[in-house]
């Protein structure tokens, strides 16, 4: 195995992300400058004890600005992820469980949104809706469709599982079936999807800001900082690095977390050999039994005791 196992990657991602959050929100307490202050004695100053990341062309402290951008990016990423994944789960499960015309109507909407060139739409709409929340809403509105389709497909197959049928035949109502038997099995998909949406949202927001559609000066975001540093990057590298570095780190952390969670939560991957025993279903399974299951599953044409 060349990649570290899923749960270790997930932990690494989570730790990195937590560190970035801590820096972004606690950093201003330690920083000597506020993001909206201007130091008229230092223009394009390189990193120093006074200005840890240096200053911009107009003498603003880059460290404070970067933290400001990070806070914005992290919040937007989280809100967008929760919103878009929530919408995807709601729409997908509703369509899957109810079926019929509700299903057709919702899927028509999904297809319609999918064919719109989303980045252009976001770029046009986000200034119209104003800053912070507007950006969140617009980005989220274009991120949920594919997940909704996946959720719907999984719901359709889960609906036919024997234990769901058994519950229905016991008289369990549809809402309870969703909550008890369908949602838990979608949880891993949704968690992973949310994690990956965080990085997508952050990149989208940065892209919008870079193009001038996001945060407007004097406010700053990682995108605007990169845009400002664009021309000067070869001569004044700290301008560029101080904004691009955190962006890369955030996306890396979130991707590690999402990727790791996908592997760790995937029930089709046996969680025995070499991995720490995990919570839940495999508790108490002899290690040996677990280990044999995987190779046996790969044996050609094997179907034990078929009906």
């Amino acid at each position: 195995m060349t990649r570290p196992p899923g749960n270790r990657r997930a932990v690494a991602g989570a730790v990195l992300l937590a560190a970035l959050f801590a820096v972004a929100f606690l950093g201003p307490l330690a920083a000597p400058w506020r993001w909206d202050q201007t130091d008229f004695t230092a223009f394009r100053a390189p990193p120093s004890a006074g200005h840890w990341f240096g200053t911009t062309q107009s003498g603003r402290d880059l460290f404070a600005l970067t933290l400001r951008g990070m806070r914005k990016s992290l919040l937007i990423g989280l809100l967008v992820a929760v919103l878009s994944t929530g919408v995807a789960a709601a729409v997908g499960m509703t369509a899957g469980v109810l079926g019929g015309w509700v299903d057709r109507l919702l899927m028509f909407g999904v297809d319609l949104l999918l064919v719109l060139p989303s980045f252009l739409a976001v770029a046009v709409l986000s200034p119209a809706l104003g800053g912070g929340t507007g950006v969140v809403l617009v980005i989220a509105a274009f991120l949920w469709m594919i997940t909704a389709r996946m959720v719907r497909a999984m719901t359709l197959s889960l609906k036919e599982r024997d234990y769901v049928r058994a519950a229905r035949f016991l008289g369990v109502g549809p809402v309870r079936v969703i909550v008890r038997h369908i949602l838990p099995h979608l949880a891993s998909l949704l968690v992973v999807d949310a994690a990956l949406n965080v990085s997508l949202a952050i990149i989208t927001e940065a892209g919008l800001a870079y193009l001038g559609f996001g945060a407007q000066p004097p406010d700053a975001s990682l995108g605007t900082l990169i845009a400002d540093a664009r021309g000067a990057a070869p001569a004044y590298p700290w301008l560029f690095a101080s904004a691009a570095g955190p962006l890369v780190l955030i996306v890396l952390a979130v991707n590690l977390l999402g990727d790791g969670l996908r592997d760790a939560l995937d029930p089709s991957v046996p969680r025995c050999a070499g991995r720490a025993p995990r919570r839940g279903p495999r508790d108490g399974v002899p290690q040996a039994l677990c280990a044999v299951r995987a190779p046996a599953a790969r044996a050609p044409g094997k179907r034990e005791d078929a009906a």
Partner: protein
């Protein structure tokens, strides 16, 4: 002279799980050796090791020699030259073993071209010959068909044709008939016999089915926990088994030929087979063995000769001389005391029920081409009785159950549960009715939510039907006791239970609300034989104790024979015969019932019957033949063509009579006749046999 010699074979799966622990096996040319064992016994690892197809990371040690040449440790490229030529294989699922994008004739020809260096033309001609040999009708045309155009049985014939294409020295068949219906299984066993005779190859037949081994094999090797525990000529082992495991296995096997004993039944083997690679014990069977003593804990029992070529790995062979005393019969619960059938109320009454599925992806939802899964079924289940429902896969058994369970207005016909027509139920009454009507599915691995603990699984029905929260824990404990589980199991997840325990949980869930009618959809089909017997005993005890009525769906006629009071035989969505179990099994009136019973391989090598194999495959349910749907496969219909076989054998008259008789089969779908007043049995056949 043995052509295939396995000695001291050990197979270890990663990380460190021994699945085969020292196996010796020698097979002579033309000999069929059956390897039987339950899941986890290592029989499949044995097959894969012989073929050099072990999964990555698995290690094999010991020796596998084919005509003296060592196979273990050779590279895959070297083995590829042997496999398919000298060493052939037949897998369980022919659909995944054949390439879907090439015609089957080309696939067979390919192996001939590669190994024998034949020209393309010659190889194709030979492929057609082979397909003809394995009994594929119109072989020249069918050779150009793709795998998906064949039925399961026909695909398995193709696999066998491919296996014998290069006159192999040995054939390894891993569960070759497990995925097939019993009638098709009988055909495939015949084809394997043909293959052996045509090539003189040694055949290693790996299966969990003792009946299949008795039918085909010359010698048998019983495997348990990676070791051989008993081996010998099939007749000796089946008649005088000496290893307690074999004894228990043979005794707990439900049989067609033995009528149900009243008041006694063989004690089942307790416990479950150990998981593959469990901790090494001196005798792996010791924890489940009824006659084990302190001497069993000392060392691994060596195989001792107990007859000509008959070895048993047991230190207490003296105690196993009388097989009946190893697993003595235990008293069965007395048959429930109940008034005669006519006086009991009907718990389920179905009349003229139909369920048609529209053709897949069709634009116009026309009736033509619809799959007639259930097509006019009428039956009645009275309180406290068990109705067995048998038939081949695709005959509509499960669809029928699902229609009953839906408790909604059926497409056609009527369903009345406990005297209430389901078409006219209010949602509230429907939910209340579900308390009385419960279901157990085939595979407990899929019917229990893997993310819920046993306690939650059992609590769910209780809470759904508003059982007081305070009463729930006591009821859960009661249920666990009822199905023979320990209280500690309540905190486990289904994955941490064995298959048999899981099925017990599923049964407990169904019983939670004290139903009066339980629908069982193949409840033991996915279990090992020894566990099967335990679950059957449990179901019998529950019926006796709780006065339940069962509808027991199964493809295994022997299982149904053991539990059912009455039997219904389904074919192509209809019931073709229904009646008291004894009457139906002992003197079936419908030719299909007869054929089904004939096709079941008895676990008794002496009873290899001259079976009448059904010719064709089950019909396509979307376009059944006109008239009687069983007509194309019916031996009685075929016999009508030969006037000499008719009872009134006047030549001229007979011929005309035959034509008239056949015309009836071709024109009208036979309806169930009025039941015979003497025996409770009626069949849907135009030409039932006369009184004996």
């Amino acid at each position: 002279m043995s052509v295939l010699e396995i000695s001291g074979l050990h197979v270890v799966y990663p990380p460190d799980v021994p699945v085969v622990r020292g196996l010796d096996l020698a097979v002579e040319g033309g000999e069929v050796v059956g390897v039987v064992g339950e899941s986890g016994s290592g029989k499949s690892a044995l097959a894969l090791a012989v073929l050099g197809l072990l999964p990555a990371g698995a290690r094999a040690r010991g020796s596998v020699r084919l005509r003296g040449a060592e196979l273990l440790g050779r590279s895959d490229a070297e083995l590829a030259r042997v496999r398919g030529r000298d060493l052939a294989m037949v897998f369980q699922d022919p659909l995944s073993a054949l390439t879907p994008v090439h015609p089957v004739g080309d696939q067979i020809a390919e192996t001939i071209q590669i190994h024998a260096g034949a020209t393309r033309r010659a190889a194709r001609a030979r492929a057609v010959e082979l397909l003809d040999l394995v009994g594929i009708p119109d072989a020249a045309r069918r050779a150009r068909a793709h795998p998906h155009e064949f039925s399961g049985g026909m695909r398995q014939r193709v696999m066998i044709a491919m296996a014998i294409a290069n006159d192999p020295v040995a054939i390894v068949a891993d569960e070759p008939t497990t995925a097939l219906d019993v009638t098709v299984q009988a055909q495939i066993l015949d084809v394997l016999r043909v293959a052996r005779d045509a090539t003189g190859a040694a055949i290693v037949l790996i299966t969990h089915d003792l009946g299949v081994v008795a039918d085909l094999a010359d010698r048998v090797v019983v495997m348990y926990a990676g070791r051989e525990v008993e081996s010998g000529p099939v007749g000796d082992v089946y008649r005088r088994p000496r290893m307690p495991y074999t004894i228990g296995l043979l005794r707990s096997l439900p049989r067609l030929d033995a009528p149900r004993e009243r008041g006694a039944r063989p004690a089942p083997i307790g416990g479950a087979p150990p998981p593959a690679g469990g901790p090494p014990t001196p005798c792996p069977f010791r924890p489940r063995c009824p006659i084990g003593g302190p001497e069993c804990d000392r060392a691994a029992p060596a195989a001792v000769l107990v007859g000509a070529g008959h070895r048993a790995a047991c230190v207490r062979t003296a105690a196993t001389l009388d097989a009946g005393r190893v697993f003595p019969a235990v008293p069965a619960p007395p048959p429930p005391r109940r008034p005669p059938r006519a006086e009991r109320p009907a718990v389920l009454r179905i009349s003229g029920l139909a369920r048609h599925f529209p053709p897949r992806g069709a634009f116009a939802r026309r009736a033509a081409g619809a799959v007639r899964a259930v097509d006019g079924v009428s039956l009645e289940v009275r309180a406290g009785e068990t109705l067995g429902l048998v038939g081949e896969s695709g005959c509509g058994k499960t669809t029928l159950l699902m229609e009953i369970l839906r408790l909604e207005r059926p497409q056609r016909g009527r369903i009345a549960v406990f005297g209430r027509d389901v078409a006219a139920l209010s949602p509230k009454v429907r939910k209340a009715l579900r308390r009385d009507l419960q279901v157990v599915f085939q595979d407990p691995a899929t019917s229990l939510d893997p993310r819920m603990r046993v306690r939650d699984i059992l609590t769910q029905p209780l809470r759904t039907h508003r059982v007081a929260r305070a009463a729930v824990p006591r009821r859960v404990a009661e249920l666990l006791g009822l199905v023979g589980l320990e209280q500690a199991h309540a905190d486990r997840y289904p994955a941490a239970l064995s298959a048999g325990q899981r099925q017990r949980v599923a049964i407990a869930r169904a019983l939670a609300l004290e139903p009066r009618l339980l629908l069982l959809d193949e409840p033991v089909a996915s279990l090992d034989v020894s566990v099967q017997a335990q679950i059957m005993d449990l179901l019998e005890d529950l019926r006796a104790g709780l006065g339940l009525a069962y509808v027991f769906v199964a493809h295994d006629l022997a299982v149904v024979r053991r539990v059912a009071d009455r039997v219904a035989v389904m074919y192509a969505g209809r019931i073709v015969e229904i009646g008291a179990a004894d009457a139906v099994y002992e003197s079936p009136a419908h030719p299909y019932t007869r054929a089904l019973l004939d096709a079941v391989p008895a676990p008794d090598p002496a009873g290899r019957r001259g079976r009448r194999t059904l010719l064709a495959d089950p019909p396509d349910p979307s376009s059944p033949p006109a008239g009687c749907p069983f007509r194309p496969r019916c031996p009685r219909y075929a016999a009508l063509a030969a006037p000499a076989l008719l009872p009134a054998a006047g030549d001229e008259l007979g011929a005309r009579g035959g034509a008239v008789a056949r015309a009836r089969c071709e024109r009208a779908v036979p309806e169930l006749a009025a039941p015979d007043p003497a025996v409770d049995r009626s069949a849907a056949c135009h030409h039932p046999p006369g009184p004996p």
